[in-house]
Amino acid sequence: MSFNLTFIGQSIAFFVFWWFCQAKVWPLFANILEQRRQKIADGLEAGARGEKDLELAQASVIKQLKEVKARAATIIDQANKRASQIVDEAKDQAREEGQRIIAGAKAEIKQEFNRAKESLREQVSAIAIAGAEKILESSIDQAANEEMLSKLAAEL
């Protein structure tokens, strides 16, 4: 147990190992741990950012949903209005059409009636003339009485 060169040798080894460790070993791990720390920090930051984005997205979705609902409501409203308008218009048209048809029918009926009256009158006048002819027989001149007969026909 005496001091000798071993002591010097160990001291040299000590400094050599220290140098090697600080130059060739320590930086490797320091570097890797720093990189990993950075990566984790980035990951956490990205996570926080994602969460925030999600929050914003949710808020925006809610807002949009509200808008869409409002728009849908107005659209439905308008549609309802339009529908009732169309129905009203259709009713009006139908009424008008009906009245027009009725009016046409009435006019036709009137025409028919007139035509029937005319024909009846003609037939009556013809019958009257024929009767008068029978009554008067030959004494009556057709041409001389034409005017009187026409007046009679018009009066009927």
Binding site: M1, S2, F3, N4, L5, T6, F7, I8, G9, Q10, S11, A13, F14, F15, F17, W18, F20, C21, Q22, K24, V25, W26, L28, F29, I32, L33, Q35, R36, K39
Partner: protein, 295 residues
């Protein structure tokens, strides 16, 4: 297994040249020493006495060799892991090394307030190196030493060749490290505070400049005690642990099996603790050396 090898070794010894307990322990506490013989020639010492006679110009081939081997193996292994390490998901060994790295880094962050990027690598080197050197104490005392003795006897013709495998049971190793730390304390004290600042700290603290002699009496031994206590604490703990393993191996016969186990379990606490203490004190001392403000 350890104990079986032990018993086999003892049996061989009993059959051939039986060792007494004292011889056994002396053999195990001796170093494989290379140095300058008394006659001026260089070579391996054949006996502990011969090693003693070599004095300063000798080197413990076994402890220094193991120390350098262990240190180099640890650093190269860490570098190998570091080279292959990935940022994403660390695998088993990378995880393990990173755990040690972060442990040491955290201790340095707590204990060292200065800005010196060299302190953390120093702490890592010290911590892992000492832990591994201490761990050699758990290798059964006769495995490698016994094998080396056989190799020494039949290959090199050295009878009872000594071969210690626990570097931290060699005071040269522990003091080599603690005095290196001391050199760093002095270097950084002077670098950070200047020679004047460093001397002022020794002379004018803690009682002010009118009590200068008392200050010196307090501060100088305090300073010198740092490396000595640092080195001898580690040495003492490990030497005592090794000695107890040797006593168990040499005196207890078959009872050594459980005794070894029990002591090894206790020793499992000592091994990392002493490495940790050495590292922490190094950090604390160097922190004080970097401290520039008066207190």
């Amino acid at each position: 297994m350890a104990e079986l090898a032990e018993a086999a070794h003892a049996a061989v010894d009993n059959g051939a040249a039986a060792l007494t307990v004292q011889e056994y322990i002396t053999h195990h506490l001796a170093y494989l020493t290379y140095g300058r013989h008394v006659d001026g020639s260089w070579g391996l010492a054949h006996t502990p006495d011969e090693a003693m006679d070599m004095g300063f110009w000798s080197i413990h081939v076994d402890t220094l060799g193991w120390s350098i081997f262990i240190g180099a193996a640890f650093l190269l292994f860490f570098r190998y892991i570091g080279k292959r390490a990935t940022v994403d998901t660390p695998g088993g060994m990378q995880n393990f090394v990173e755990m040690i790295f972060e442990f040491v880094d955290a201790r340095v962050a707590e204990g060292f307030n200065g800005k010196n990027p060299l302190i953390a690598p120093l702490a890592l080197t010290i911590f892992v190196w000492i832990i591994l050197m201490n761990t050699m104490d758990l290798v059964p005392v006769d495995w490698i030493t016994g094998l080396a003795s056989l190799v020494g006897e039949y290959v090199f013709g050295l009878e009872h060749m000594a071969f210690k495998i626990v570097p931290t049971t060699d005071v040269n190793i522990t003091m080599g490290m603690s005095l290196s730390v001391f050199a760093l304390i002095l270097y950084y004290s002077i670098k950070m505070k200047g020679v004047g600042g460093f001397l002022r700290e020794l002379a004018f603290h803690p009682f002010g400049k009118w009590m200068l002699p008392f200050n010196l009496i307090i501060e100088v031994p305090t300073l010198l005690a740092k490396p000595i206590s640092l080195g001898l604490r580690l040495f003492g703990n490990l030497y005592a642990g090794e000695l107890l393993f040797l006593l168990i191996a040499s005196m207890l016969g078959i009872v050594q099996l459980p005794a070894h186990f029990v002591w090894a379990v206790f020793h499992l606490l000592v091994i990392p603790l002493q490495a940790f203490v050495f590292m922490m004190l190094t950090i604390v001392y160097l922190n004080a050396a970097h401290e520039t403000r008066d207190h």
